[in-house]
């Protein structure tokens, strides 16, 4: 086992009768919204939420914190793999996002660069719909995407993959930012949705 295995949520495994399942920092928020969860690739994932179709008509918000995230140094070369999103922070650093099922392959593809598994470090709040841009404008001045900077008084990143908007922030600020985004979204008629509905709603 690598010295940093304790950093990887995906390194957990069934042992001594225990069945570890990873939870997003926003798990409770989605639960409170009545979400149905499924275990997918070692994570409890909110797949659907009551009222999600109506929310998506304006802006639907979901939790993608189960995605695997690697920090890689240096940033180049950028991985050109399907479903893998690279957010370059500087010449020296990039964040690489991928589905947990592909984490091992992506890690391998990153080669012998300095790579940290930061899959537990972030809350990833995604939203889509006609009012998504208004929500974004009501939480941050960042507009040339992808970008990093202040979002509702904390530091984070905004990505725009495939017709959706992702706000990525430290997981410990996830509840706060979820509250803020949900507040803005609900004022516009939006609300929480499951990850499957968002995947259908966005063009991703």
């Amino acid at each position: 086992m690598s010295a940093l295995a304790f950093l990887s949520p995906g390194a957990a495994h069934d042992a001594k009768g225990f069945h570890p399942v990873a939870r997003s920092p926003l798990d409770r928020r989605l639960r409170d919204a009545g979400a149905s969860f499924e275990e997918r690739d070692g994570w409890l994932v909110p797949v659907s939420v009551p009222g999600e179709a109506a929310h998506l008509a304006t802006v639907g918000v979901t939790d993608l914190s189960h995605l695997s995230v690697f920090e890689v140094r240096p940033a180049e070369p950028t991985l050109e793999l399907d479903g893998v999103i690279t957010h370059r922070l500087s010449a020296r650093r990039a964040l690489v996002f991928c589905p947990p099922a592909r984490a091992a392959a992506v890690r391998e593809a990153l080669g012998d660069r300095f790579v940290l598994d930061l899959s537990g470090a972030f809350a990833i709040i995604a939203f889509a719909g006609p009012e998504a841009e208004t929500v974004l404008r009501r939480i941050t001045h960042l507009h040339h995407l992808p970008a990093s900077g202040e979002i509702a008084h904390i530091n984070g990143h905004v990505l725009a993959p495939g017709g959706t908007t992702w706000v990525v922030c430290p997981q410990e600020s996830g509840h706060y930012l979820w509250e803020v985004i949900l507040d803005r979204a609900s004022a516009l008629g939006g609300g929480p949705v499951g990850v499957d509905a968002l995947a259908r709603g966005g063009s991703a």
Binding site: A11, A15, K16, F18, S24, P25, G120, P170, E172
Partner: protein
Amino acid sequence: MSRLEARDGERIDRSQPVSFTFQGAAVEAFEGDTIGSALYAAGRRTFSRSFKYHRPRGLQCCIGHCANCQMNVNGTPNVRVCATPVSSGDIVKGQNFVGSLDFDLMQATDKFAGPFTPPGFYYKTFIRPRKLWPLYEKFLRNAAGLGVLDRKGKREARVDVENRHVEVLVIGGGRSGLEAAITHAAEGRQVTVVDEGPEAGGALLSDPAGKGVAADLRARAQAAGVEVIAPAIAIGIFEYGFVPVAVGNLLLKFRAERIVVAAGVIEQPLVFPGNDLIGVMLPEAAKRLVEWWSIKPGERAVVITADDRGLEAAASLRTAGVLVALVIDLRVEQPPNIEARGRRGRLHAVSVNGETVKADLLVMSGSPQPNAKLLAQAGARVVYDASRGIFVPESLPENVEVVGSAAGDVGAPAVPAAVLGHQGDKCFVCFCEDQTPKDLAYAIAEGFDSIELSKRYTTVTMGPCQGRLCSTNAIRSYAKTKGVDENTIGTTTARPPYTPVPMGLVAGYPQEPARRTSLHHRHRDLGARIMWTGAWRRPHSYGADAGVEAQNVHEKVGLIDVSTLGKILVTGPDAGAFLDRVYPNRFSDLKVGRVRYGVITGDAGRIIDDGTVGRLDDETFYVTTSSTGADGIYQWFGWWNAVWFMDVQFANLTGALAAINVAGPASRELMTRLSDDDFSNEAIAYLDARAVTVAGVPALALRIGFVGELGYELHLASPQAVHVWDALLKHGADLGVAPFGLEPQRILRLEKGHVIIGQDTDSESNLHEAAMPWLVKNDKEFEWVGKWATQQVADRGLRNMLVGFESPSGAMPVEGGQVVVAGRSAGRITSVRHSRELDKVIGLAVVPVALAVDGGRFDVQVDGRAVGMIVRLGHFYDPEGARLRS
């Protein structure tokens, strides 16, 4: 009722009646009315009471510029009703009176108090006896003022803040603003126009011939792709093209590459006796009443004007059937003596050079001032054009332009005298603050001879109109009294907001960026009392008695969520050498799998943080910091390596990892139930760091003992924290496992004499006087940060010392309480708690170094009396550390 027959271009929709209440009585209005227009149409003429003299005031500008129509609308004071669209069910009330708006008992101040209330009278009259000042203040505040806030009122209206980026922002949607917008858009730029009126068009909207022109310009702007937002008030122009714009309860934060100011003009009053009587108004007010809301403003009018505006108003009034009895064009003649006469505060005649004309309406127009307030805020110079009596903007900031009348394109108005009449009623320079030319002359005589000083002393230009209607006249009055020109007097500093906006809008939506650990909701489920520690929300304790939770750690096993600890990975060939430089003690010799305590000092040798350092492999160290120190220490490492360029990398893993401290005599048994790893003393000794698997989750176990018992601090991926926490509670139930919060942790660490940085140290604390000289390793190859300064402390000799103490009487001093030696303050208590385990009150204190001996005595004030304390060196609990090493 003063409503006219339906007119072309009126803004009201007579098919849409709206009703609201004023002072409890129903008022009928139409869609398109403002509250002010509806009240006027219903016959109301007194809209407010003035600030100081409680004189009745009526509509003056009808454009939201003055203070005359401020009322309480649905509980919100100081709403300018002339510019507030009427809504069904509105509850409207007058403000700032005793009795009623029409019969205000406080108006006695106008009749009797005038000579006794010059500027600054309250500084002179209400000073003795001094102890009565609170009473005087209460009286003065009640007598004057601007409405009353509901102290128990809650924020009801939602506010939002939205960021916008545009290439060109045009402020003002009149003719020149729309034309500029169309031109910029035609050149391919993205353009937004904001206008404070109900729709873009500006002065064109109250001109019968201009309404069509405005509609045409709006259509052309729309076709060119221009975004037009109205009503929308630009609050100020700030650096880098930042312009906040209030749109109802939405604050738009524009960042514009270019700003075009097309804010038009501000109509100016004239200064003559009775110029504040009800019925004396500015041209746009008269025009809007007629052209927008189809209201006949009066029966007989007099017009006194310095430009065409008054003449245009006269034309509008005639179409409404008002008899215009007299028009004085100041460009043609300037009568030396004008006086408005009133009865019960309402105009009934105008006297010009002694000749009296009956009138219930007087339209006055001084030289129209280019609306350059926003430009002045942004840094433009504003220069007086003596030939036209106006202030013109010059030297505009980069990327700001001004067009139309705001640029000074106002024709050639007359320059009115500073005061146009000298007998009769009071004449006002500043309507908001009830300041007269006499008041300003009085201030000059008292030495407040600059307009900026006068602003502070008399409050001229400081009222709700923000100097719009009084600035020019005040400057003119100052120039005349001092015998200098207006440029010499200069203008007062223009400050945002250009138009008053609710504080709630500027504050934005309330939001608190709290940090929560991945176990936060488990703590809530367990009934924890949550408290703030820095930006974090953490459990204070889970039950009523923190002492019980602490005892459970001594006797059984406790769990505490320490995920808030900073966690920094330091890795690379130079990692050990780097740590040797940022810590006073040595880490390059730390063995793989071992942990060592470290304190970080700044350049000045002051303690800034502490934590542990574990070595994971030859080149990788795992550093923990205090909960509030994580971000600072991460940056600290980066800054220093920007100086040293060592081959080392840092990663802040604070959020990525949760940490659970499992502590107590039963902790080993609990760990073995969840893990196949060997948790014996031989396998994981005190101050060891080991990779283990707990309930199937890989973790780094640090065997450290902040709380003084056998314990394992488990660091693991945050998403797995709930699983591990639940497993620990479930499988330790029969061992008596229970969570404990920060408060019991503070008791436990105090029993061991463990320091909390920031609690037991302050910004002056150094290693020697914080009783940590054992951390100072001066034999290292390189200078460590703070070495020189720390040595200075040793060389100059120690003055104070952080020591443990106990309270023999059991009295509990307060944290921060003064240590008293020989009747003098000589130190302070930094921490104190009652230990159930020791059955003692114990603590830490900074005392003079002479007292830092076991048995040293000092006093502390407890409940007003000196209570003796005894110094105790060493740990209060388990001094040999046997339990930690067990």
